[in-house]
């Protein structure tokens, strides 16, 4: 069976050059980078080489990069790292209602611990209004945390503008850039952010490694205490395999960014146009233009997302959905709900996320297979019958 992978926002396959770099490292080096001897020094060199590559991709200084175990850990570290400096007097945090669960649930945890949190709303396109941030700032605001690109709908947020508002008020700004890295330019200096989270497995490197950019001069409390690794900012022996792969993946991302973005955008647009032309009653979720080039989120009215996903899977196509049935709860996607999309429409959402390996043939195949699936499921649907005037 033909296999088509359109779930690259969930994770990406390892790039062959990344695999090669990791294998070379595995064959030659095993030391603990904290050790003083030759084996340790070899590992330390590989660690610092990788750190340079990561720093280069986001225009940071290598000393500003702390490796973590995931993007989720980086988000936790940034938010709790600031909050834990204010354990006594607590304080106010501003985030948005469409953040990744690793930001939202960390904020909810801090609310339980006595912090106050404002969740900025979004409009029907899923966009954040910088005026809302201005209005939400209080005297005791200790942190603003807003993502660069949304994982579900792909929207790109005006981080530069949002960060400058925080800066005018002397509030540290954290940005979850996990879904932006490798898809659009991420430049910490241009953005003017103080903290920025990224993850390796979204850019064709292994799972189990992320990084937090911490602007020089900014102090945050460590999340994991122990040894003096990562300059006392994150204890624990480094995940060298992941880090070495992450470094290589960042080098490739920097080299190929424009070429991949252009190619993938054309395919994404072709998929979007094809779906809209071939299938009636489809709604685009997200902003039509201000979106990363890889992501397409659409709702097929009158049908449910998990049914669509399973049918696609039977044809070898991997995608994902914001339907409740795929999340293990009764509520559909918090992102789509925050946009004011009715629950029954959110339940019919499907996210196609393309990657550098996506081909023209993949898209043609989806456009051939998808319309009959939707037609079949609609023939089962009492909602469709009612909408089309049946009793």
């Amino acid at each position: 069976m033909r296999k088509v992978y359109l779930d690259n926002n969930a994770t990406t396959p390892i790039h062959p050059e990344v695999r090669e770099t990791i294998m070379e490292f595995l064959n030659e080096k095993f030391g603990n980078p904290s050790s003083i001897h030759w084996a340790g020094r070899e590992a330390k060199k590989a660690l610092e080489d990788a750190r340079e590559r990561v720093a280069e991709l986001i225009n940071a200084d290598p000393s500003e990069i702390v490796f973590t175990g995931s993007g989720t850990e980086a988000n936790n570290m940034a938010i709790k790292g600031i909050a834990f400096q204010n354990l006594e007097k607590k304080g106010h945090i501003i985030t948005s209602s469409v953040e990744h669960p690793s930001v939202l649930n960390t904020c909810k945890y801090l609310e339980k611990k006595g912090f106050e949190v404002t969740y900025l709303p979004v409009d029907s396109y899923g966009m954040i209004d910088p005026e809302d941030l201005k209005k939400s700032i209080k005297k005791n605001t200790i942190l603003v945390s807003i993502m660069m690109a949304n994982n579900e709908i792909g929207n790109i947020y005006p981080v530069e503008e949002l960060a400058s508002i925080a800066k005018e008020n002397n509030i540290p700004f954290h940005c979850d850039a996990v879904q932006a890295l490798g898809k659009i330019e991420v430049d910490v200096k241009k953005l003017g952010v103080d903290l920025l989270s990224i993850s390796a497995h979204k850019i064709y490197a292994p799972k189990g490694v992320g990084a937090l950019y911490i602007r020089k001069g900014l102090k945050i409390e460590p999340l994991i205490t122990g040894g003096h690794q990562e300059k006392n900012r994150r204890a624990g022996t480094e995940n060298m395999i992941g880090i070495v792969g992450f470094g290589k993946a960042c080098e490739i991302a920097k080299r190929d960014l424009n070429e991949v973005a252009e190619r993938v955008r054309r395919l994404r647009d072709k998929l979007e146009k094809g779906i809209m032309e071939k299938i009636p009653d489809v709604k685009l979720n997200g902003h039509p233009e201000k979106r990363v080039p890889t992501t397409l989120n659409v709702s097929f009215l009158y049908v449910e997302g998990e049914s669509i996903l399973l049918n696609l899977d039977m044809e070898g196509i991997a995608a994902s959905s914001g339907s409740a049935c795929t999340s293990g709860t009764l509520d559909p996607s918090h992102v789509l709900t925050a946009m004011g999309i009715p629950h029954e429409v959110a339940h019919g959402s499907v996210r196609f996320s393309l990657g550098r390996d996506t081909t023209e043939e993949d898209i043609d195949y989806v456009l051939e297979v998808l319309p009959p699936i939707i037609e079949k499921l609609r023939s089962y649907s009492p909602l469709y019958r009612k909408a089309k005037g049946g009793k």
Partner: protein, 124 residues
């Protein structure tokens, strides 16, 4: 996550459709919650002669609807009323715990269709 049998019913659901001159119609669920089911029955001599359904929902919702119609078809209405969510789930070789409400939906929709038939019969 899903049993082979459930996936088979999801792929090829039995008795999908509408009976225009149904003797009883039942509806259960709410599209807001992600699943909704409509069941139509045709009854002769208190036996369910024909049954059809339409379902908006996940694979479990569609498969439980399909299995429910198989269990009910040919049964006397009083026996069909006894079909429980567990009967439906068991007939599909089980459901994941978070999907158990789907079989309840199928049980409800069938009960409502039978009640609708019985009410109509009483008022005749």
């Amino acid at each position: 996550m899903y049993s082979e049998k459930l996936l088979e019913h999801f792929k090829n659901p039995r008795n999908v459709g509408v009976i225009e001159d149904a003797d009883g119609v039942g509806e259960a669920g709410n599209p807001k919650c992600g699943d909704m089911m409509t069941v139509y029955i045709k009854v002769k001599d208190d036996v369910i002669e024909d049954i059809k359904f339409q379902t908006f929902g996940c694979a479990a919702a569609i498969a439980t609807s399909s299995m429910m119609t198989e269990l009910a078809k040919g049964k006397k209405v009083e026996d069909a009323l006894k079909i429980s969510k567990k009967d439906i789930a068991d007939a599909l070789d089980g459901l994941p715990p978070i999907k158990m409400h789907c079989s309840l939906l199928a049980e409800d929709a069938l009960k409502k269709a039978i009640e609708d038939y019985l009410n109509k019969k009483k008022n005749k």
